[in-house]
Amino acid sequence: MSSAAPASPPAATHVASRFLPRLLMTPAVATLFLWMIVPLVMTLYFSVIRYNLLQPDQTGFAGLANFEFFVTDPSFTVSVINTLLLLGSVIVITVLGGIALALLIDEPFPGRGIVRLLLIAPFFVMPTVNALLWKHMMMNPIYGVLAQVWQFFGAAPVDWLTEWPLWSVIVMVAWQWLPFATLIFMTALQSLNREQLEAAQMDGANYLQRLRFMVLPHLGRSIAVVVMIEMIFLMSVFAEIFTTTGGGPGDASTNVAFLIFKQALLNFDAGVASAGALFAVVLANIAAVFMIRLVGKNLD
């Protein structure tokens, strides 16, 4: 655009040439800004007023009472720990598993296309369907596949959702996200310079050395991507918990998202739920800072 301008433009034209693109961009930027700011401001507003759907007569400014109520909830600490456990376990499982699978299917072999397709398939299963599938077909203590395997070996079937509720949810979520990690690592491996690998091999580097000093550093950036994206989505895991354990038994599988749901739609307290939502935003940011530091060390 500026190439059409004279060689030494007068100040006025220069300003105009900057003004026009900005003007044209304004509607899009304004829309995006409103899109972000309106719900955020409303959440902020709700979080400082008394707003319980069942008690419309109680209104007015509540200060930080909603935040206090949410944070002092006996389920609160448990739910934060559960959220972090869920987040951490799923990320570790998917990153390790994803790298292993990507390495396995990196070399050409007959039927590679089909195998790749099968590996990626779970990612397209809806979370609720995923949860129902695991709950009824895999983990049911009476007719589930796992119960049958246990019985085949003469062991007593495990009632997974009662005895290992959080672990069960982790398994379901990890099953869903493993394909995503595999996909990212698979594409990253394709861009790895084969000649360098071969050269290293000729110089006598064994497989582990090549993996440690060439493949993994090459994957660093994609690991960061996987960790970041999974963190954003796994903070708010809800469907799997709602359809399988309902957050229980007790609070054993309640995470922050589920606790907010309980406040908003089971207790109908929009005020406390908004306070909880804001807390979740803060928690996500803290976790993000730590993760970026952690992963960022391996980058550049």
Binding site: Q55, P56, T72, P249, A252, K262, L266
Partner: protein, 436 residues
Amino acid sequence: MMKLKASLALAFGLAAFGAAHAATELVIATVNNGHMIEMQKLSKNFEQANPDIKVKWVTLEEGVLRQRVTTDIATKGGQFDIMTIGMYEAPIWGKKGWLQELKTDAAYDAEDLLPAIRNGLSVDGKLFAAPFYGESSMLMYRKDLAEKAGVQVQERPTWTQIADLAKKIHDPKAGVYGICLRGKPGWGDNMAFLSTLVNTFGGQWFDMSWKPQLDSKPWHDAITFYVDLLKNYGPPGSSANSFNEILALTNAGKCGMWIDATIAASFVSDPKQSKVADQMAFAQAPTQVTPKGANWLWSWNLAIPAGSKKVDAAQKFITWATSKEYIQLVAKTNGWANVPTGTRKSTYASPEFQKAARFAAAEKTAIDSANPTDSTLPKSPYVGVQFAAIPEFQAIGIAVGQQMSSALAGKSTVDAALKASQTAADREMKKAGYYK
């Protein structure tokens, strides 16, 4: 082009046709229970009799229904013209002025409604919701197993006797568990049953100054008894069982005893569903320290949100769906064993019904003996047998229900669960400003 013109003409024609018959459309939110599904089918008859009214159904699972109608009525959303609400919501919402008072005529015969149910749905003598079907809770047991154990079950047994009988008939190797009870968390699930158990052990939810009583001795005794009973003589996985799960177990002949909604009696005594239909016998819910509040009282009801613009049409539909004639209509279409029960004296007076339903007498006794305004041994400030009709109760019931299922699953001790429950209840009550 011709095609376009033709379809345009057709569209206009249809629009004109629609306008000519501008029927009032009633949107009805209801729960996916058998009786409600039946009403949905039979509403064709209503539409035929009232061609100016069209009925549109939104059928939802209980929990989702409660969320949808509560958010709708609280935010004055106006999505629904008629709502299916429980006995818990009716008095709270009526008091808040969220519901339209129901006007009934002589033909409707409001005096025929069972007094316990009618009281539960009224505020200051004004009826705010019409009962569609009602229920209490009672004991259902296997005659054959009790006889084999040499035990004669009394009309109103005590919990000690029940525990004794459960021990005698418990035989997991033969696939029979002594007793099945609700364990799935939820104020309408495990807490409905547990509240009646606590009532009869002499406990209450709140004392006269609205202080929660979950750390009191009756609660402790009742919950300890419940956890021990189910651990020793219950089926595995009890902490996930509620009405439907236990119904399936009972129908398969796996439960020796079951204390639950009277509505279950019509299912377990139906040979088409139940393997042990002939063996099922019925008695009143067991008691312990006091008979007060030993059996619950619940009804599903139809109500009109205040500010609705279609009050007349809605009123007409509710009158039809909860009338004596509707019960006759169901009887004619599906037989007397399948009519919605627990609402009208005339249903129980009908000889055909008494003949078709073996459980009729026991159910009527159970409903009549429940009194929502006086259901605890110490005086209580709240209305409701298995719940306290205050808005805060839902949140408290859910939190306590979670703790109880955790204790049942062995994840925490009864003491710890009750202590956590007390804290949760105390927080909610304080926040709502009942006390400082």
